[in-house]
């Protein structure tokens, strides 16, 4: 049984890390990062079966792929606090000569990252490839992936979604960060996805939905169900309804903070809403 209080403390600390990373370099993507904080914390600290340390091949452990690479601040914070690299390296986010590039990459050898992402729509394909290799290696561990909702406007996703169902890639759990926002506005304004659940189902996926995508217990319970449904001939999709900018009142329910950093006063306000728990880097 998960220690929810401990995870909640970590969530608050990760929010602080996100805000401080983007503020320090005055760039980056806080909105989507804050919206997925509970998911990342739950996944890396309760759900995934991970080995100590990092090797690229990741045999004998669960693997995670981030498709919407722009939410790197939450990924970096959770990886650092899970021990993949020193937490104080978060100070180098988006700086020159850093392993913490604006969008995640393997190029500088940052432990925890297995593929570059940022140019959207490519992560599900990569995750499917890794899932097929798990099967070839007779490794029963699972592949997790996260993609954005707006990102599903990229056609490659639908090639991948078709492939995974048609080829029974059932060791794969893809979560969609369903916050309804993208750079130019709401999904509905920019390009509606229609009935996303029906679309995934029509392609042959098992679809779970979590209405409270910023509630740790709801996420944990849905991921547990998803895990139980693996190995049954269908890939699994979780539509995770989140609030962009969650945990910082003035960043919530808007696309305004998709790719904008807070100024000094805004940072102070945001941090005061999330008092330090595990210690700042």
């Amino acid at each position: 049984m998960a220690d929810i209080k401990k995870l909640e403390d970590l969530v608050i600390q990760v929010r602080r890390d996100i805000l401080r990373q983007v503020h320090r370099v005055n760039s980056g993507h806080p909105g989507g990062s804050l919206g997925c904080t509970e998911f990342f914390v739950a996944l890396y600290n309760e759900v995934m079966d991970r080995k100590d340390g990092f090797d690229m091949d990741g045999k004998g452990e669960d693997l995670f792929f981030l498709s919407n690479g722009h939410i790197s601040p939450v990924f970096y914070s959770v990886l650092a606090r899970a021990g993949y690299f020193p937490v104080n390296e978060l100070n180098t986010f988006r700086h020159i000569d850093s392993r913490l590039q604006g969008h995640p990459t393997t190029h500088e050898g940052l432990p925890g990252i297995r593929v570059a992402s940022g140019s959207l729509g490519q992560g599900i394909s990569v995750a499917i490839g890794a899932a097929e290799t798990k099967k070839l290696n007779q490794d029963s561990h699972l592949i997790y992936a996260l993609c954005g909702d707006g990102e599903l406007q990229e056609g490659q996703n639908w090639e991948a979604i078709m492939y995974a169902a048609g080829n029974k890639v059932d060791n794969l759990i893809v979560t969609v960060d369903y916050n309804g926002q993208q750079i130019d506005g709401s999904l509905e304004q920019v390009l509606p996805l229609g009935n996303l659940k029906a679309k995934f189902e029509a392609f042959g996926w098992e679809v779970l939905e979590v209405k409270e995508g910023n509630n740790l217990e709801a996420i944990l319970s849905t991921l547990k169900t998803a895990k139980e449904k693996t190995g049954n001939g269908k890939p699994i999709c979780i539509l995770m309804h989140t609030v962009m900018g969650n945990g910082v009142d003035f960043m919530m329910h808007t696309h305004a903070w998709h790719g904008k950093a807070p100024n000094d006063e805004q940072l102070e306000d945001a941090l005061s809403q999330n008092p330090e728990t595990l210690g700042d880097y």
Binding site: V115, A116, Q122, I124, A131, E132, A160, Y163
Partner: protein, 316 residues
């Protein structure tokens, strides 16, 4: 002439034969194909190892992404489709998921250039070498015959890193040694000469040998170098030859912008400025026709190499 055609064969069949052999000798080799299994000669690998063959359908972007993911866990993916759909169609997928991510993916591309023939310009790519060589870390190989394509297919499985392997559709002379060694990045000296250097790649290598024969009859001694690896380029072989002959002709089934010729020109400009002529397409799309008609119309054969050689000799 010391090179003889042992019987016309297509380079894509050399790839197929190499892949079949790899299936038996390297259990980590997996193959992905986007609905062109027969065209790519991947049928035998598929029949022998159905569990290691992945039919992705007409979905090249997903194929490239999957190949990148399959390397995680130690597999060596070989993707197969036409050169056009292997490069331009999936450039960003190759760039981010394969090249920038440093994944050990082998992008194997058939039907390159105009010799694809009757299907016309939608399927004939003349820009792929340029596209691929500009990607940091990408090795670019364009083989000249069946034997060399088979050898290259075996060699790239042993090379750790992304590779673009380019070959073609038509049956062409098969003249390099059977089961010969293939050293990535190493030029092959086919014929030594003193008056002009002909640096050729792919289907133009055999044409270069024919051209050298014609030039010989006219008292011109041509040196013929087979450049199967365009990147990394064997700078030393080119410079050494250019110093000896004093002029260079490059020959390729590709646009003169972005191809082998430009790579050679870069090396010469930096290390030993030398007059050079380009046998290549002149910034144009292809069209329908038989391979021979097209190679003639676009100036990609022995006659064109002879003409270019005489022109560059006059510039010495």
């Amino acid at each position: 002439m010391k090179y003889t055609d042992t019987g016309k064969k297509d380079t894509r069949s050399g790839f197929g034969a190499g892949l079949t052999e790899l299936g038996k000798t390297n259990k980590n080799v997996v193959a992905l194909c986007a609905d062109l299994t027969g065209s790519l000669k991947m049928d035998e690998f598929k029949a022998n190892h159905p569990e290691r063959f992945f039919q992705v359908g007409i979905a090249e972007a997903n194929m490239i992404g999957m190949a990148a993911g399959m390397t995680i866990g130690g597999k060596i993916p070989f993707t197969g489709t036409f050169a056009n759909f292997s490069t331009g169609r999936v450039y960003d997928q190759i760039r981010q998921s394969v090249a920038y991510s440093g994944k050990n993916v082998k992008i194997c591309a058939s039907h390159a250039g105009v010799t694809l023939g009757e299907d016309g310009a939608t399927h004939q790519i003349l820009e792929d070498i340029g596209l691929m060589k500009m990607l940091p870390g990408m090795t670019v190989i364009n083989t000249c015959d069946y034997n060399q394509t088979k050898a290259a297919t075996l060699a790239i499985a042993e090379h750790d890193g992304p590779v673009y392997l380019r070959f073609g559709r038509p049956k062409v002379a098969n003249f390099t040694p059977e089961n010969g060694t293939f050293e990535i990045g190493k030029a092959v000296m086919l014929q030594e000469g003193t008056d002009v250097t002909i640096v050729a790649t792919g289907h133009l290598v055999w044409e270069a040998l024919q051209a050298a024969g014609t030039l010989q009859e006219q008292g011109i001694s041509a040196e013929v170098i087979n450049i199967h690896t365009i990147k990394p380029l064997d700078d030393e072989a080119i410079i050494t030859s250019a110093k000896k002959t004093g002029c260079v002709v490059t020959a390729e089934e590709h646009n003169y912008l972005g191809g082998l010729g430009e790579s050679v020109a870069r090396v010469l400009a930096q290390q030993h400025p030398t007059p050079q002529e380009f046998v290549a397409t002149q910034d144009t799309f292809g069209e329908s026709g038989t391979p021979d008609q097209l190679m003639d119309k676009y100036g990609l054969n022995a006659n064109a190499i002879v003409k270019a050689s005489k022109k560059v000799l006059d510039r010495k």
